[in-house]
């Protein structure tokens, strides 16, 4: 409430100053109103953490002169927030914080926004996917898990967040590459999948590092391999006398998945000017330099990797291609 009034006051002041002394037109653009950060998740999830990390990095370092408000539009796997961004074409004061769901979900269902109408701003970091198993299971290597799955088709239960989203796709990929069949059980999100694995209700899950960390520390779950070309960065001991770098890559463990990662992305409404886009790209470039961002990345086991402009566009196309192929094999594509 307060920040709104303040924002209005500032914009009023700006208008007055423009009216009183006509300034030369600026080549650069800067926000004129309060900023809205749309978290496409419910409060508390990974996307929420991502949104707030950037908000605190911007606020504590004064990177943007306007107030920033975070709103949650997480219904229907975050579709709600993306529809909202789609409906606000031309508004440079709204940013949506998301993952690859932006281009993945529309492949399977009609969700009310066209991803080509949104402006991709940046991919900020990659969240790794790790294959975790319950600590009480007889297998503690990828080989053991796959062997067990081969002996008992559909007998191994893999928990994950949502259906036909990243966890499900990753599970499909494991099945395809290892030539086994498992049973995928969709839960509301990674947090729920973490609890179900710790409680032994499923045998394995494909959570991001941060999602299962507490359970790893409690000795309830064990990481088998990370689907990344190289091992994760060594940030010291995190759990059970081990660091993130002690988890082998899936290739090292004999599972032929070189890389499956999940980008943390920022999207904006369509119809922005080049100056507006450049402004926000600049802000994000500064964000990844801040201490707040470094802490966030380290605590969450993320790999910081800023991609903007053509880099990001190319990445989306690649990722969409992989999704398209897996969805087609699974018979999930729209209209099937």
């Amino acid at each position: 409430m307060n920040s709104n009034v303040k924002g209005r006051f500032f914009s009023l002041a700006a208008m007055v100053s423009v009216a009183v002394c006509p300034l030369p037109a600026f080549a650069d653009w800067a926000p004129e109103n309060d900023i809205e950060f749309v978290a496409t998740s419910k409060p508390g999830g990974g996307t929420d953490r991502f949104t707030r990390a950037i908000q605190s990095a911007i606020q504590n370092n004064g990177l943007v002169d306007q107030d920033i408000r975070v709103v949650y539009q997480g219904a229907a796997n975050g579709t709600q927030g993306l529809v909202y961004i789609d409906q606000n074409a031309g508004d440079p004061h709204k940013l949506a914080f998301a993952t690859s769901q932006v281009w993945m979900l529309p492949l399977t269902s009609d969700l009310g926004y066209d991803r080509n109408d949104l402006t991709p701003l940046a991919a900020m970091a990659f969240d790794e996917f790790i294959i975790w198993v319950n600590a009480d299971r007889p297998y503690d290597t990828v080989e053991g898990l796959i062997e067990a799955a081969r002996k008992d088709p559909k007998g191994i239960k893999v928990g994950g967040g949502k259906s036909k989203d990243a966890d499900h796709v990753f599970t499909k990929l494991i099945e395809e590459r290892a030539g086994v069949e498992v049973t995928y059980v969709p839960y509301k999100g990674g947090a729920e999948a973490a609890v179900q694995l710790a409680g032994g209700h499923v045998d394995a899950n494909t959570n991001n590092p941060a999602e299962n960390l507490a359970q790893w520390q409690a000795g309830k779950v064990v990481p088998l391999c990370v689907a990344s070309p190289t091992r994760m960065a060594d940030t010291g001991i995190v759990a059970q006398e081990k660091s993130w770098a002690d988890i082998p890559t899936c290739i090292e463990s004999g599972l032929d998945i070189e890389s499956f990662r999940f980008p943390r992305t920022v999207f904006m409404p369509g119809d922005l000017t080049e100056e507006q886009l450049a402004y926000w790209q600049g802000v994000m470039e500064k964000v990844v330099e801040t201490e707040e961002w470094q802490t966030y990345v380290t605590n969450s086991g993320l790999t910081s990797a800023l991609k903007v402009g053509d880099d990001f566009d190319a990445f989306i196309e690649d990722s969409e291609g992989v999704g398209q192929q897996i969805f087609e094999n699974a018979g999930w594509l729209k209209g099937n």
């Binding site: 409060p43 908000q55 949650y72 219904a75 229907a76 579709t79 949502k162 259906s163 059980v185 409690a218």
Partner: protein
Amino acid sequence: MDFFIDQLGLLSDGFSVALSLQNMLFLLFGVGIGILVGVLPGLGAANGVAILLPLTFGLEPVTAMIMLTATYWGALLGGSITSILFNIPGEPAALPTTFDGHPMALQGKASEAMALAFSSSAVGAMIGTLLLTFAASWIADFGLRFGAPEYFAIYLLAFASFIGMGGPDPIKTLISIMVGLGLSTIGLDTVSGDVRMTFGLLDLVKGISFMLVVIGMIGIGELLITMESNLELRGVAARMDPRVVLRTIISLPRYWVALIRSAAVGCWMGVLPGSGATIASMMSYGFARRFSANREAFGKGAREGVVSPEAADHAAATSAMLPTLTLGIPGSGTAAVLLGGLLMWGLQPGPMLFVSQPDFVWGLVGSMYLGNLTAVVVVLLSAPLFAAILRIPFAYIGPVILVICMIGAFAITMSLFDIYMTLIFGLLGYLFKKLDYPIAPLVLALILGDQAEESFRQSMILSGGGIGIFWESTLSKVLMTCAALALLGPALIKNRALITSHLRNRG
């Protein structure tokens, strides 16, 4: 014994952290904001805490957590004020408080109802916090035993313990439940990932929030009924009389059975991830009605009907902190936001947190005792302010309530479509009341429906389609038996005379 002394030692260290001037000031501030957030329908504790979170980035983590949790306690209390005075739950968990709290207010016993609500909240919160103090490691493990079949059994038990609450006509209750279940299927389905029942309306993809239904059917429905009855808000003489308040608080031990039962339900639901305060208060109201000697009084201003949901609600909210801190598993939506905050400050929840950050953990636990008591005192002192509202003529207050309802409906997802939906549900609520259909079963079905469906289908995936999975673990056996008893028990008892006489005739 040593264990208790150790815990008490840690707790007293915690109190010394919590009792610093700075922490107490932030605690008071949090309580104040919380009550305000709680009073506005639609703006729940989770949203309130989420909005405040960025303001706390510059604070010490323990101070920030103390302020945010205080907001939580304040919001829960604020939610009961509007439930009792206006029949609009300001907070989802306060819904069952409307069933008997509002009738009490209509009978001119508003101050008694509020005093009852606040003091039983305090008892619930104390019990929840005691549990957090002494049973951290054991309880956290218990939560892990719940898989999909056990969850389904819990939801079934919630439904079973609630059925028949709408009054004398079971067919109308059943119809109301069915409408609720139907509404709960709208939107994106978690298990299949498909969009269902939206009729091509994109605004429906996100589903129908039960708060919309509550604000519309109960809030606006009530306004329409009031308008019909000569524009008088049926609440008179609602002064907060200190003597009444004191007398009510002194009379509280009389409800010890209800208090303990509700606190137990609350702690149980709080510790279980994903259930939380709303289900706790609903279930506890259902139990209170079931076990009460004078069941007839429920819905007409029964004191136990106020005591039970309030005690359960607060016990659930406080004990939800337990799995949040010990396992990093939030026991409620608001706890999930707090968990997000912890991670932002670089604190990794889990069993190690108690070892590596004792000042933080025990400062927080200490503040939970102080915060809940402070919140009750503040809300008792500020309640006359809200009670005074009842003395304003309805012609003024009615439109204000409508505006608050609309703001609440808009605040949930900031969509204009939701406002239209709320108005439609308002008309539906009016119809339900006119035709004597109960609204509560519909709301319950809407809240639990999709979770019950989801856990049922997850169980089916896990078992490969076999229904026997619900009878596998001891836990689900116990829960399923309880559900069957709750469902069939009353009918058996009611017809016992009939059955025994029938048997005697045959024998």
